[in-house]
């Protein structure tokens, strides 16, 4: 037993929040180790290769973009806290994006990284609502997302400012699609956080996608002295007296740690906790697993999507039903609403852009209807839904010649809720985690803290800020 390795901090999961926490802790001299079950870092924002081609998972766009020199925003805080310079993280801004609602996307609001564009679009399409929209934007600017502020329904607050249900749905749609862990509605504080991140700040992408960011974090972590164990997750957290007394790894090895930061999710963390030999059973208070998950199709072309007629849009949030129905569908996939992403439509610095043309499409899905299919059925269903999703998203894009699209297609892929669970361990494939968040990161054990999605911060910038905040508040300078 004396040979057990001991760390000041053990971090479960090498996703963005775990890595960001690791960078902070290692930088300030903590002996820290990240345990990751998968063979690659990234978690919900990772990447994979098929036939030599690299695909991003998660990242459509990095939110919270502000131009270099703009200070006092989440991106600036993040970069300073991790000692990353703007030169190290080159970001390409979106060209323009749209929110398109109605059977053929007839109701459309264009937005860019200049909020005035969205304001003008709302004034054009909803002249009677624009004053209310401006008041809503002001309220959002003043809203703080912290354990001390009250939880409110985002729909109710939006409705108090905006009377037209179509505009209400158009404002909710991007926010829910990019971070909604509840069905139909969101906590207004989260809504405000994401509204700021997407509309008041903006969308961008590291040229090489998520790999660029992961590489940067891994380099910082390594040079600060952080340790990392890949293909070695944490199998059990042994509890004694309300504390994590030891961690059992996938290898069977036991280690100890003064503090544990878990990025794998609230319910997923709770599921690891069991009584240490001879100790009393710990109080079990597991948050419910999330219900919201997605499928995503990726189509790779030998040319830019713009050359096929799909224009300048970077992201298109779409919905065709009377009211936005953001919920777990009864069927395998709900193709009525979702998100289209064309990574080529981020403006790259002069020089070579992306090697391929890429079109991604994301739609709500039902985990249970994908989870237990025999392999053959699973493959056939994927192929069928791939086609149905392409047909659905065509309605929200400028017309293209389908023969030309087919001729230009060099590869396709699709991931499902089952893929998400297989590679991240998220129950139900719930990429935005449980609907019940722990804003202070607390769990049933005093020295185990959550970071990442289930601490309440969403998105790539949110994940990293969560890791930073929990490392700071719970470990580096506890009150």
């Amino acid at each position: 037993m004396n040979s057990r390795a001991h760390y000041d901090v053990a971090i479960i999961g090498a996703g963005l929040s775990g890595l960001a926490a690791g960078v902070r802790l290692a930088h300030f001299g903590k002996k820290v180790c990240i345990f990751e079950r998968h063979n690659a870092p990234g978690g919900l924002n990772g990447f994979y290769s098929i036939a030599g081609r690299k695909y991003d998972v998660g990242l459509h766009a990095l939110t919270n973009f502000v131009k270099p020199g703009v200070k006092g925003t989440p991106l600036g805080t993040l970069l300073r806290q991790l000692r990353i310079s703007r030169e190290e993280l080159v970001l390409c801004e979106q060209r323009q994006s749209r929110i398109a609602l109605g059977p053929r996307g007839g109701a459309s609001l264009r937005f860019t990284n200049d909020f005035a564009v969205l304001e003008a679009e709302v004034a054009r399409a909803f002249p009677a609502q624009v004053d209310g929209f401006r008041r809503l934007a002001q309220r959002i600017r003043e809203t703080v997302y912290s354990p001390g502020s009250p939880a409110l329904s985002a729909r109710e607050v939006v409705r108090a400012h905006v009377a037209d249900p179509l505009l209400e749905d158009m404002l909710l749609c991007p926010i829910l699609m990019y971070g909604g862990s509840q069905e139909h509605d969101a906590d207004f504080r989260l809504f405000a956080l994401l509204f700021r991140a997407i509309f008041l700040e903006g969308l961008a992408r590291p040229l090489e996608g998520i790999r660029a960011l992961l590489r940067l974090l891994l380099d910082k972590y390594r040079s600060a002295g952080g340790e990392r164990r890949m293909k070695c997750g944490v199998r059990r957290i042994l509890a004694r007296g309300g504390q994590a007394a030891a961690l059992v790894l996938d290898s069977g090895e036991e280690i100890t740690a003064g503090q544990v930061l878990s990025s794998i999710g609230g319910p997923e963390t709770a599921a690891l906790i069991e009584a240490a030999p001879g100790a009393e059973a710990p109080a079990a208070a597991a948050p419910p697993p999330g219900r919201i998950t997605f499928v995503e199709t990726v189509t790779v072309f030998d040319r830019e999507p713009a050359a096929l007629g799909w224009g300048e849009d970077t992201i298109v949030f779409f919905n065709d039903s009377e009211r936005l129905d953001y919920a777990r569908p009864d069927g395998q996939v709900d193709v009525r609403s979702g998100v289209i992403c064309i990574p080529n439509n981020f403006v790259s610095a002069p020089g070579p852009g992306l090697p391929d043309g890429v079109l991604r499409a994301t739609c709500l899905a039902n985990y249970d209807r994908w989870a237990h299919l025999p392999e053959e059925t699973y493959r056939a269903d994927k192929a069928r839904w791939y086609g149905a999703i392409q047909a659905s998203i065509r309605r929200f894009l400028p017309p293209a010649d389908e023969a030309a699209v087919a001729a230009a297609t060099v590869a396709t892929d699709m991931f499902t809720p089952r893929t998400v669970t297989k590679f991240t361990g998220r129950l139900n494939g719930a990429i935005y985690g449980s609907a019940v968040k722990s804003l202070d990161g607390r769990t049933a054990l005093a020295n185990v803290h959550l970071c990442g999605t289930d601490q309440g911060l969403i998105g790539i910038v949110g994940a990293m800020l969560s890791g930073i905040a929990m490392a700071n508040d719970r470990i580096l300078r506890p009150a």
């Binding site: 020199g69 300073r80 806290q81 310079s85």
Partner: protein, 87 residues
């Protein structure tokens, strides 16, 4: 250590924490927060970097002493010298 050397150590730390700030014309007698865009998280990082790099502890009650370069030098120089004497 002189007070100017002490100020330089603080400036070096700020330069690492906030590489996007222009530190060439910092006024010693003006509050750092009034000349730079540094928030409470940056400020706590200054305190933590002092501990990490120089082994200096600044208790929370004394954070106010680090408001300007002058007040920082006033407060930190004797601490630096006391540490050096111990070594």
């Amino acid at each position: 250590m002189t007070k100017d050397e002490c100020k330089q150590r603080v400036i070096d730390i700020i330069a690492d924490i906030a590489p996007d700030e222009d530190l060439s014309n910092l006024k010693s007698d003006v509050k750092l927060r009034d000349q730079l865009q540094i928030d409470s998280m940056d400020f706590l990082d200054i305190v933590m970097e002092l501990r990490k790099r120089h082994g200096l502890e600044v208790p929370e009650a004394d954070y106010g002493q680090l408001a300007s370069l002058d007040s920082s030098a006033e407060y930190l120089t004797p601490k630096f010298n006391a540490l050096a004497a111990k070594r």
